[in-house]
């Protein structure tokens, strides 16, 4: 069968640095083609070239067998090639319908034909099995539903080729299932789909073909049924991955953190738990179950009532500074919006949380530089240039920088929210290593994660939350996927839009 979109011998340079080396790729109608690779392997560049954001330095694109050049995003869209971004391209203050029709509004005479647009939006969303009211604002709907709106927007533009950049990064397992069903439906309808994800089990489930990129080279292309997840991971990393998770260490009996009856209005109700020295405590639960809000309440980033005791001493609620001084540190799940200043360099990001350690009256820049050198070495932050902006680091390196920034405050208790979201498997392994080393050094760690294997692989004890309450606790052998899921779903079916 002829390829709908073909990339032939694509090479690309950013300045003097070559990021793609003679890569070929074909997308066929009715086929899901997964493109996988570590952060920085060149996936994004490939996607940008396909969707008209970038023109390749060398190589050609073919559409229906004819050579074509996309001068811009609009050119590619006109040809039916639509990219769905990891960071959504939706106007938050506009309604679902306004977003779906943005730039191609229907008119009747001088005025907008809202009725027709709403009806069509509703039809598109129904095709996706996502019954949301097109009149609602984007800011009022949940993240997975926003994802559906993005897809509906693409469908409304008669997408022949859909490029999906990690569409499941922000979805829970259940939401992922729904999305994969939609993708399957689109495939049957004859859409060519390029799919990227760090979650290899999804790739196995949904993809027909898999292409693996490593350092800008295509290292593997094969039908997905011929590849195991393990084989994919090794092709991505270029070395064998024996054990992803380090051995678990025994926690001490000493209690370092005690949370009693913590309530975060609207999110968490009456949560109590304790954390031991040297322990890795996992927090599981569906997105919207209140895990993040509970921890933000504990570290004073949200208004909360209840008691938080660190080493037996009660800390002032609602003060992030008091929590930090008590040795508590929270590493946000949202590194781009809450974790790092993307427009600032590495040094200023690194020292922001612990700036007082570098300040007498003036900031000691030499000490900052030394701290940066140490952090780069200790956390293996791969930056081309020390002066580069944090926003230009790959996701994995941003996460390492964020980890370094948090650890610079020398906390006793570290709460890490989604430690490996959107991160490739090689970096994941490193971060798991850091976490277990922290526990071995006598720090206490809480890991919040939506990825069950991660919680199971890291934690010696797991607390499961459901609908703002602590639903149960599992320890040792009892920590299984099955047990966690049962607790997470225990209290009736959570609504689709908890958040």
């Amino acid at each position: 069968m002829e390829a709908l979109l073909g990339l032939n011998g694509i090479s690309h340079w950013f300045g003097p640095i070559q990021v793609l080396f003679d890569v070929n790729l074909e997308l066929h109608p009715g086929e899901v083609h997964a493109l996988i690779g570590e952060n920085g392997a060149g996936k994004s560049t490939m996607m940008k070239i396909m969707s008209g954001y970038l023109q390749p330095t060398e190589g050609t694109l073919q559409l229906d067998g004819n050579p074509i050049r996309f001068g811009s995003l609009e050119d590619a869209e006109a040809a039916g090639i639509i990219m769905i971004h990891q960071e959504f391209n939706l106007a938050l203050q506009l309604t679902v319908e306004e977003n779906i029709f943005l730039g191609r509004e229907k008119r009747r005479g001088l005025f907008l034909d809202q009725k027709a647009m709403q009806a069509e939006s509703r039809a598109l969303l129904e095709r996706l099995n996502c019954p949301i009211d097109p009149r609602r604002k984007i800011s009022d709907i949940s993240v997975p539903n926003r994802q559906m709106v993005e897809i509906a927007k693409a469908l409304g533009r008669d997408a022949r080729v859909l490029i999906m950049d990690e569409p499941t990064a922000v979805l829970t397992n259940r939401e992922t299932d729904t999305l994969l069903e939609q993708i399957d439906r689109l495939r049957k309808a004859g859409t060519a789909i390029l799919y990227t994800s760090h979650k290899l089990n999804e790739v196995s489930r949904i993809a027909d073909r898999v292409t693996v990129l490593r350092d800008g080279h295509k290292v593997l292309e094969a039908p997905s049924r011929e590849l195991s997840e393990h084989r994919m991971a090794e092709a991505m990393v270029g070395r064998s991955l024996s054990t992803l998770f380090p051995a678990k260490a025994e926690a001490k009996s000493e209690t370092v953190l005690e949370v009693r009856g913590l309530t975060v209005p609207g999110h968490v109700e009456d949560a109590s738990f304790i954390l031991h020295r040297g322990e890795v405590l996992g927090f599981a639960g569906l997105v919207g179950s209140g895990r993040t809000e509970l921890m933000e309440g504990v570290v004073g980033l949200r208004n909360a009532s209840g008691e938080v005791r660190v080493n037996g001493v009660s800390i002032k609620p609602g003060s992030a500074l008091a929590a930090r001084e008590a040795g508590l540190a929270y590493l946000t799940e949202d590194r781009k919006d809450k974790g790092l200043l993307l427009g600032k360099n590495l040094r200023e990001n690194l020292t922001l949380l612990a700036l007082d350690r570098f300040t007498r009256i003036a900031i000691d820049r030499r000490a900052e530089e030394q701290a940066l050198s140490r952090a780069i070495e200790e956390f293996d932050i791969r930056a081309g240039d020390r002066e580069m902006l944090a926003g230009n680091l790959s996701g994995g390196n941003q996460q390492k920088l964020l980890l370094a920034k948090t650890m610079l405050a020398e906390p006793d208790i570290v709460i890490i929210d989604e430690p490996t979201r959107g991160i490739d498997i090689g970096t994941k392994q490193q971060i798991y290593g850091f976490i277990s080393r922290l526990a071995a050094e006598g720090k206490s760690v809480i890991v919040i994660s939506s990825e069950l294997p991660e919680v199971i692989g890291l934690a010696t004890r797991v607390i499961v939350m459901a609908r703002g309450r602590i639903a149960g606790e599992l320890e040792g052998e009892r920590i299984t996927e099955d047990a966690i899921l049962r607790l997470a779903m225990e209290l009736a079916e959570p609504k689709a839009e908890v958040e």
């Binding site: 980033l301 919006d337 809450k338 600032k344 007082d356 081309g384 002066e387 920034k405």
Partner: protein
């Protein structure tokens, strides 16, 4: 990546960066050369002192404004606030004459009063913005009207004049100097140096930039966002007080038209200097250059009769817009 590649990259970045940094400085030098060519008196001691001393009011305020803008805020009320502070200062000093007599203590009390009034006015702005969470634009638009109206009311629609004897005693603060340098210039220079140190070398400056760049990140980094943001407005208010202390001896009076459009000149100077209007990056020395550029344009138009001085505002406007265009191009090339 090879070592050589990193080096070329680094050097390229550096050169581009320097060009941008030098932009406002080059403009300033060009203006000085132009002025010297157009009028031989331009570089005379008298003219230089005059230009610098008159820049001092806006300059002192603009230094404070740089902090506010860097932290993602704006303050439209500074011109009205200056008029109000001047009014309170003059009324206060006049009414204390029977109690204290005309003398240096009274002037010191007047100065303290000015600083305190500015501090208080800034605090009100800051608390409304960071604690009550009203948009800075709205709060300061409101307080701009309030202070302007208050000073007009205090002056009963006319002019508030400082007691004649007191004025004579106070005059040297503007007209006098130290080693031939006028006091306003000295104060402006000290404020600028202190501001530069505060911005570039202290946690407060770093926090301002962090808040302006991304408030959430600052909050999650245990920065006390409300306190730092309030502090920028308080600092600006106090500097408005300081500017007023230097301004009152110049004319010895205040009225409803004192300090009109100062806020725009101060904001313009900040932007010309390379501070980003939406916050996240601020440069005090750039602001100083910005202030000088604006006053030199004014001065050159007055000295050389090529273009009407009435077009001063238009030319300054063009300069501000141009500065922002250049700033944007720098952004694009950074990507």
């Amino acid at each position: 990546m090879t070592e050589a590649a990193i080096n070329t990259f680094g050097r390229l970045n550096l050169r581009r960066y320097n060009l941008h940094v030098l932009g406002p400085l080059l403009a300033l030098v060009a203006l000085i050369v132009l002025g010297a060519m157009l009028n031989p008196n331009f570089l005379s001691y008298g003219n230089v002192t005059n230009v610098l001393a008159r820049s001092a009011f806006i300059g002192i305020i603009a230094v404070g404004m740089t902090f506010v803008i860097t932290a993602g805020g704006i303050d439209l009320s500074v011109g009205s606030m200056a008029a109000f502070v001047a009014g309170v200062m003059i009324l206060g000093m006049n009414s204390l004459i029977p109690l204290m007599g005309v003398g240096i203590p009274l002037i010191l009390v007047g100065m303290a009063l000015a600083l305190l009034t500015g501090f208080g006015a800034g605090l009100v702005n800051g608390v409304l913005i960071s604690k009550v969470r009203i948009e800075a634009f709205i709060v300061t638009l409101g307080s701009m009207g309030i202070y302007r109206s208050l000073v007009t009311w205090l002056a009963d629609g006319g002019t508030l004049s400082l007691n004649f004897d007191l004025r004579a005693l106070y005059r040297p603060v503007y007209y006098g100097g130290f080693l031939g340098v006028a006091w306003p210039i000295i104060v402006f220079a000290l404020v600028a140096i202190a501001g530069e140190l505060l911005m570039r070398h202290t946690a407060f400056g770093r926090h301002c930039a962090a808040i302006g760049a991304n408030e959430q990140v600052a909050r999650y980094s245990a920065v006390n966002v409300d306190r730092a943001r309030t502090a920028t407005y308080v600092l600006l208010g106090a500097l408005v007080g300081l500017a007023t202390i230097m301004y009152v001896p110049r004319l010895g009076s205040a009225s409803g038209s004192t300090g009109v459009l100062w806020e725009l000149e101060a904001i313009a100077a900040v932007i010309i200097g390379g501070t980003v209007l939406k916050g996240g990056f601020g440069r005090i020395w750039g602001t100083v250059v910005g202030v000088l550029i604006l006053s030199l344009i004014d001065n050159i138009l007055n000295l050389a009769s090529i273009v009407s001085p009435y077009l001063n505002g238009a030319i300054q406007g063009v300069v501000v817009i141009l500065a922002v265009v250049l700033q944007r191009e720098k952004k694009a090339s950074e990507q």
